[in-house]
């Protein structure tokens, strides 16, 4: 069961440069939006993962024993001390790398689902797949805007840039999750990995927010 903390999100377009017709959001607003988006994304991925576990009786979860997630090369802080020690720039960089790494596999995931490779699959599950696929791209854009705003305000150094994770991520991330002699992709592993990575993204964003703008929410 996904419990969401609902937050009011305005419908005004997000424009960081004050173009005519849109309100320039504050950093707090941007933070709220990206955190809410990441919460939602994590929730949907959790739902999908548990659905897979129910319906597909997966074989032993290879992740953690024999397999890794395709983002294993992206070094992420594994506990609170490390996350706080790493600093905002690196944390933002990690977030961006993770989001970038998942854009492609999720699109392929959705395609494979909607193509009916899994005939028994729930219609709503394929909708969720589309949703998280879109969300990952939106969130990436949102985090970039957040980083720009933070740079504008001087709370973020300029070392954060767009780093292509291609060196870190296997070229065909989606096929990374193939297993078995049939070379079929095990979506269960993919969803397990994505659920975890989306949780990381959400947590790192919250740490960024509470260290940059300590307030009532923290």
């Amino acid at each position: 069961m996904r419990k969401m903390v609902s937050m009011r999100v305005g419908a005004a377009p997000l424009c960081a440069y004050g173009q005519a017709g849109c309100q320039v959001p504050t950093l707090a607003e941007i933070f709220d939006r990206v955190i809410q988006q990441s919460s939602r994304m994590h929730g949907i991925s959790s739902d999908l993962h548990s659905e897979f576990e129910q319906y597909f009786f997966p074989s032993k979860n290879l992740i953690g024993t024999e397999r890794k997630c395709h983002t294993y090369a992206i070094l992420t802080p594994g506990d609170k001390e490390n996350a706080q020690r790493v600093g905002r720039e690196q944390l933002t960089g990690v977030i961006l790398k993770l989001l970038e790494a998942w854009g492609d596999p999720l699109s392929q995931f959705y395609q494979s689902m909607s193509q009916g490779q899994n005939q028994d699959f729930n219609y709503y599950s394929s909708e969720k797949a589309l949703e998280i696929s879109d969300m990952v791209h939106e969130l990436r854009d949102g985090v970039e805007k957040m980083a720009d705003k933070m740079k504008l305000l001087g709370v973020l150094g300029n070392t954060v840039g767009y780093i292509s994770p291609e060196t870190l991520v296997p070229s065909s991330a989606f096929s990374y999750y193939k297993r078995g002699y049939l070379n079929s992709v095990d979506h269960h592993d993919l969803l397990y990995c994505f659920r975890r990575d989306s949780n990381k993204v959400r947590n790192y964003l919250r740490i960024l927010k509470c260290t940059t703008l300590p307030g009532l929410d923290c």
Binding site: V5, H42, G78, K80, Q84, R206, K209, C210, T211
Partner: protein, 631 residues
Amino acid sequence: MKEVMEEAVLLFLLLVIYTPDAQGTRYSPPGKPELTRCRSPEKETFTCWWKPGSDGGLPTTHALYYRKENSDTIYECSDYHTAGENSCFFNKNDTSIWVNYNITVVASNALGSTFSDPVDIDVVYIVKPNPPEKVTVTVMELKEWPFLRVSWEPPHKADTRSGWITLIYELRVKLEGDDEWEMHLAGQQKLFNIFSLRSGGTYHVQVRCKPDHGFWSEWSSTSHIEIPDYLHREKSMWILIAVFSAFIFLILTWSLHMSSHRSLKHCILPPVPGPKIKGFDKQLLKNGKSEDLLRVLVVSDFPPTTPSNYEDMLVEYLEVYVPQEQEVLLEESKDLHDSCLKFEGSTSDNDSGRVSCDSHTLLMDKCGEAKEEGRQTDQEDSTTEAEAQGQQKDWDQDTLMYANGDILSPEKSSGRVKTWPSVFSPLPQYTLSLPDQTSSLEMAKQHCYSDSLFCPGSTSSYLTHLGNNDNETLGPGSWEICLSNRQPYSHIPQMQTCQQVRSHSDVNISTIARKQEPAGLPLPFFRPTAYVEVQRFDEEDMVVLQSIVSDHGFHEGFPQMLQQEDYSKVKGVDSNNMLLLQTEAMKEDGDGTTPHKPTAHIHTVVSTQDEMAQPASGYVDTATIFTLPTY
């Protein structure tokens, strides 16, 4: 020898151990332990508990081994005591988040060891925080009504400040002695207000928390709070009782008072006016001859498409009063050109046309008339003046004139004829003028206070500019009377038939309002224009109207009766507010015209002529009721 001795001892020992004795003890390897749960209170450390299996009769020890994701190193739990028995505590150094732990518990005794089933956990999904701390409940007073304010703090171990953990809270309240709790989800806030409390009761409050993906904590320890008694609450109840009993007392007094009067029944249940149907004869009904009765009622040529039933369709409202002097119409026309609605402005408003919407007589605004009347104030005879004043007094009384085809002809030579076609007549102060069509409509609308069908928008008469009419070629002393179609049930405005009344030179015509069809509105029915000529004013100030052949040639079907009969005498007003006319000249009985409040019945004729109005005012009413075609 020694070897034999050792073997014997071993054999003996084996026998002792393995031979079942009389009591049935058996030694076996330990049973399989089972990992029951692992929990982390703050996502930085965690603890796992297991349930041991049978010990096999021998002292059994347990050990926990774990392996981290993608590493082959096996670690053993370093702390078996912090969390109690059969537990393993992982401290901060040993805890990694987002890492899969593969945990196994081994139970071993002298005879062997048994492995439990391995369990995979990720610390981030096993978080169960401690209950919230420092729960404080206070009674706050807000404008005499108390409410509870509950505040708390997150458990001290959970680091929400840095954003590492996000907690949401929930609290529950109940009255002492109740079984059911009232739950409230508080989100991320650490403050909550509870309203609608019972005075004098004791409340129990508890709070708990949960991370976004994790388990609910235990409920905090109960906080008790007592709501003090509030006197004012009872006071308000007494006030309510007092008001209620006073109300009942008033009702009783009133009903007692009213019961002593005959009119109680009338007060509560006023009589409903009955329908007045033209041609309806009660006697016929009583006689039971329904055919006769109905025959009378039947209006031929229904629905009216031709002007043949002209007389039935047209209603002409005429109010005639005789001024002292004659006025030239043209002068008035010029005056009326600056059409305006002067309601309060008309000082001596001798216009006697007081009609209301109920009686569906429409009053024309008379602007020029006011001026004209102003001029004539001194000159008018007593009757007309009195009449006007009298009418002015009873502004809310309707003066309704129905002029059927049988139109009276003004007789008084010096009378001033005021005619106004059926117009919405809200205000008494109307002076007959030529208002702007729209403005008159507006004014009419504003003042049309009845719910009758004749209010603007529902019926059909409208005022138009006289000045703009191309029929300016009215000779002096001629005026137009517009007949309105009284179509109570039709919401389509009808074109008003305008009748031009030609007055003789000795007739003073005050105003003219000519009605046209309202601009832009459909004209489903085309009414011919008939003209009525004022024949004469007789000595009794009666206006005898005579129809004349109009230029427009719409006279077909115009009733010939016009020329022959003149219903110029008001016989009286009966109890149903009907003005009874008769053909023979008769002095109008002033008493007969008692002012009556117009009823909203469409067929009701209201005459509010008081005794002043008297003979000059031939308030002609086709008291002969007639039916309007209903659609």
